[in-house]
């Protein structure tokens, strides 16, 4: 623009340029500074003056000047109007005809207009081109995105269906066609629900409707059955989404999913396998456990529950002798019978493992119902089973528990039914046993007693008392029976009846018996210091001790240790202990040591008299039961007892055995015993059991 500048112009001219700039400066946005603009306009004024002065007036120069105004971006039309007003006044001062001025101004206006029109058209053209380019790009992007989407839609391994909000399919992909066995054309327009398995239609409609319409959730997953074109039912796992339309209202429903039939089948199988015993096909422990939990969770307040715990008797022997194959087939047969036995009632039969089965009686009608079921099952199981050439008969033991659900819990119930089964086994098998809390408590006490016995021995809680044995002829004290007592820290003073049986069952009788023997012999030895002809001591020997061949060495060692002469030790054995399989050698050995051997409680067991003859026994003790009969009770016939006693004494005398009567309480009894020829007596009449120091005082 500086090229337009004519350096020869006077200063007054540049003033004109500034005036012009001021007149039009606010009509348009121009890209140059005010000073540059004033200079530009001054150039234009100078050129227009020259154009007017020319003959004829130079319209070309005037047009150029108009175009230059547009070139400076004076696009606002006010700029032309104001420029003409100012130029007309200025050019009128030239000494030229008015027509010359008008010609030049007309050409200036034409030049401005032409340039503005060109500029407008050019700019319109360029912005339209830009718009078209932008539009094309957008469409290309859209097409590319659409093509990508189509590729995903068609190539997807997952099934995709697009439907309207009424549930009619609008479009489906090949995976969905393949899954359902219909062509895409067949599927378009079909209602989605018409493809759902009839049993699941209501569920699908409800789930999808509830989730999408009411809950406002955008996705819902449904796993339901669908029906293929060939009629086969398949499982489909679908995620259904609601896609809003352009107006924000629900527009489309898109379902994406897959055929999960195999997975479903596998899950069903796995669940079945997890819940069932593969051998018998019965529900297993896991399922029983679940049903039990359910029963506790859903029970009404007054509901009762019964459990039968069934164990086949002697199954191990069959397994061991005939092999596992036969054993397994027997289990299958037993399972079938149990299942048949309860199937009508709908109770659950489960195999707990091995040969153990369990029946869960929900909504039990009472103990009677459950024990009747146990009875029925026992009868079922007892029938012989034909397996190959074997005709097998098995029995079973059944523990039974029945009670209100609110009164128990799972673990207690199982503990009790287990205990009841144990009783059924212990009581001889092939029977049921109903759990009984009194029995359970007694067993619990037995357990406590047996558990505290070793410590009791160690802590010297046991002690001995001695009961006199008297000669019926002269009333002389001939012996003392040592009786063991237990000062129990919890139960207090305990008599032998309370713990000897337990000690025999647990085997603790062996150390206890050894202690009693030592203690009694030591005490009896001390009696010799008090009198010239001291009494013997009588010590009880339990069957289990007698069965132990070491007893002989033990007795010998104790006699040596204490220095008690053997003839002053009497060992008392019950009939059953003396008649047991082992003791005959032991008894002979003890007899050879010089000890006396007495049969305790004679007449209460099943004595083998022939065998008795061969035993090295020196004494019989008559049970107090018979002795009590010697005391006449009004209205009762005591003569039978008297005759039994007479017969027993006579027998003993025949075998040259001494007879001791136990439980002697009255002088009348003494009189009659003496008359019958009984030698010795023991009982309250002669003295109650007493402590060791009292014995010593008595002997002194």
């Amino acid at each position: 623009m500086t090229a337009l500048r004519d350096p020869g112009q006077p200063d007054s001219g540049s003033l004109l340029g500034r005036r012009w700039a001021a007149a039009i400066g606010d009509t348009s946005y121009v890209t140059v500074s005010d000073a540059q603009l004033a200079q530009l306009l001054q150039d234009l004024v100078d050129r227009l003056r020259t154009a007017v002065r020319a003959e004829p007036p130079d319209t070309a120069v005037a047009e150029e000047a108009g175009a230059a105004l547009v070139g400076a971006h004076f696009t606002g039309v006010d700029a032309l109007q104001r420029s003409i007003a100012m130029l007309a006044a200025e050019l009128d001062r030239e000494p030229r005809p008015r027509t010359a001025t008008w010609t030049v101004i007309g050409a200036f206006a034409a030049g401005y207009t032409r340039a503005l029109r060109d500029m407008t058209l050019t700019e319109q053209e360029s912005i339209r081109r830009a718009d078209l380019i932008a539009r094309t790009r957008t469409e290309q992007a859209l097409r590319a995105s659409d093509a990508r989407f189509r590729a995903v839609f068609s190539g997807a391994a997952v099934a995709i269906g697009i439907g309207d909000v009424q549930g009619a399919l609008l479009d489906v992909n090949p995976a969905l066609s393949e899954m359902l066995g219909y062509s895409a054309d067949e599927l378009r327009g079909r209602s989605v629900l018409s493809l759902v398995h009839p049993d699941d239609v209501a569920d699908v409609a409800a789930e999808v409707y509830r989730a999408l319409a009411e809950g406002g959730r955008e996705h819902v997953r449904v796993e339901k059955r669908f029906v293929r074109r060939d009629g086969e039912a398949i499982w489909g796992l679908l995620t259904v989404s609601l896609v809003p339309g352009e107006d924000g209202e629900p527009g489309y429903v898109v379902a994406v999913g897959e055929d999960v039939t195999d997975l479903h089948r596998l899950q069903t199988t796995l669940r079945y396998q997890a819940m069932h015993d593969p051998l018998t096909g019965l529900p297993n422990r896991v399922m029983f456990s679940e049903r039990m939990d359910e029963a506790f969770e859903t029970a009404a307040d007054d509901a009762r529950l019964g459990v039968l715990f069934i164990d086949l008797d002697g199954f191990k022997i069959i397994n061991d002798t005939l092999g596992h194959d036969i054993g397994d087939r027997l289990l299958v047969m037993a399972a079938e019978r149990l299942d048949r036995g309860v199937s009508s009632s709908g109770h659950l039969v489960a195999r707990m493992g091995g040969d153990e089965f369990v029946v869960l009686v929900e909504q039990s009608g009472g103990e009677g119902e459950v024990t009747a079921l146990a009875e029925k099952l026992l009868a079922e199981l007892c029938r012989p089973c034909q397996i190959d050439e074997h005709l097998l008969t098995v029995s079973a033991s059944i523990g039974v528990v029945e009670r209100p659900i609110s009164a128990t819990d799972r673990s207690e119930l199982m503990r009790h039914v287990d205990a009841a089964l144990y009783w059924a086994k212990a009581d001889g098998r092939n029977q049921w046993s109903l759990f009984d809390s009194a029995r359970s408590e007694a067993e619990a006490m037995r357990y406590t007693v047996s558990a505290s016995m070793p410590a009791g021995l160690q802590r010297r809680e046991f002690y001995l008392e001695y009961q006199p044995i008297t000669d019926l002829d002269d009333g002389r004290l001939c012996g003392l029976e040592a009786l063991v007592r237990w000062r129990h820290p919890y139960f207090g003073a305990m008599r032998p009846d309370d713990f000897i049986g337990i000690a025999e069952d647990t085997g603790l009788i062996v150390p206890l018996g050894r202690w009693v023997l030592e203690e009694a012999c030591r005490e009896a030895r001390s009696w010799a210091d008090l009198m010239p002809d001291p009494p013997f001591v009588s010590v009880n020997v339990a069957a289990r001790q007698a069965a132990d061949p070491a007893l002989v060495d033990e007795v010998r060692a104790v006699l040596e240790q204490t220095g008690l002469p053997p003839e002053r030790l009497q060992l008392e054995l019950t009939e059953s202990a003396a008649m047991g399989p082992a003791p005959i050698d032991t008894l002979h050995a003890l007899s050879e040591l010089g000890c006396r051997i007495a049969i305790d409680d004679f007449g209460t067991g099943y004595s083998n008299l022939a065998y008795l003859r061969s035993l090295p026994v020196s004494s019989l003790k008559l049970a107090s039961l018979f002795v009590a009969g010697l005391q006449p009770v009004p209205g009762l016939d005591g003569d039978v007892d008297a005759e039994i006693v007479a017969t027993l004494v006579s027998l003993a005398r025949t075998l040259r055995l001494t007879v001791t009567a136990e439980g002697v309480e009255t002088p009348t009894q003494v009189e009659r015993l003496r008359a019958l020829g009984c030698h010795l007596g023991q009982g309250y009449l002669f003295g109650t059991p007493m402590a060791a120091d009292e014995v010593r005082k008595l002997l002194h």
């Binding site: 700039a21 001021a22 005010d34 000073a35 912005i127 830009a130 718009d131 957008t138």
Partner: protein, 265 residues
Amino acid sequence: MEQHPASDVEPERPSAARVYDYYLGGSHNFAVDRAMAEQAIRILPELPGNMRANRAFLRRAVRYMIAQGVRQFLDLGSGIPTVGNVHEVALDEAPDARVVYVDNDPVAVAHSQSILEDVPRATVVQADVTDPDTVLGQARRHLDLDRPVGVLMVALLHFVPESAAPASLIARYRDAVVPGSLLAISHGTADQQGDRGPAMEALYSRSANPLVSRDKATIERFFDGYDLVDPGVVFVPLWRPEPGALPSATPPERTATYAGVGRLR
């Protein structure tokens, strides 16, 4: 999946960039743009004047930055750079300058590309200025961010609502450039507008691109981390007027626009 018809040439929505062009006297606009611009002018007749004042500030700011030695420019929300555009001003003063224009209007970007076809030192990036990661990622391909950059936010931030956290947006751009970089901001305001204030607010909020007017203190806080150069944040005609400028008949506050430039510490 249905195809969009490609036949309708006339755009159905006005664009801020083309409306701006119309205010500046350009013809890079369509009927919808002009209709919208005329509607706004009826409510606020000085709008074209304000826009010219903004454009003039842009020119002065770029010249100032060039004078300060800055040779790289990032013009955010550049619109349709037709008259008095940054690269012309900058390259006229310093032929080694580089300019990156940023706009999200596809038409403005397409137009800019055609204008800049033969101008290797200037380029345009289509991106949303409220997505600084993308903008800076693209800009980095053309500008050396280890050297000072002139960041231009002219007539831009009043389109950014409070919900878009303009201050932290500015901070993102600030943290991407080195000390010595310059930031130019011009911003619409309702300060000192008297009775016109509510009318302006109403117009702004009714617009397709709602505008947010902010007071001077808020705009000064936008320069957090920068030292404001003289004369600070002022009405736009008052920011370093060019020597020899003609006195204006309208008072500066009529532009309803603040402007300022800061130097990064």
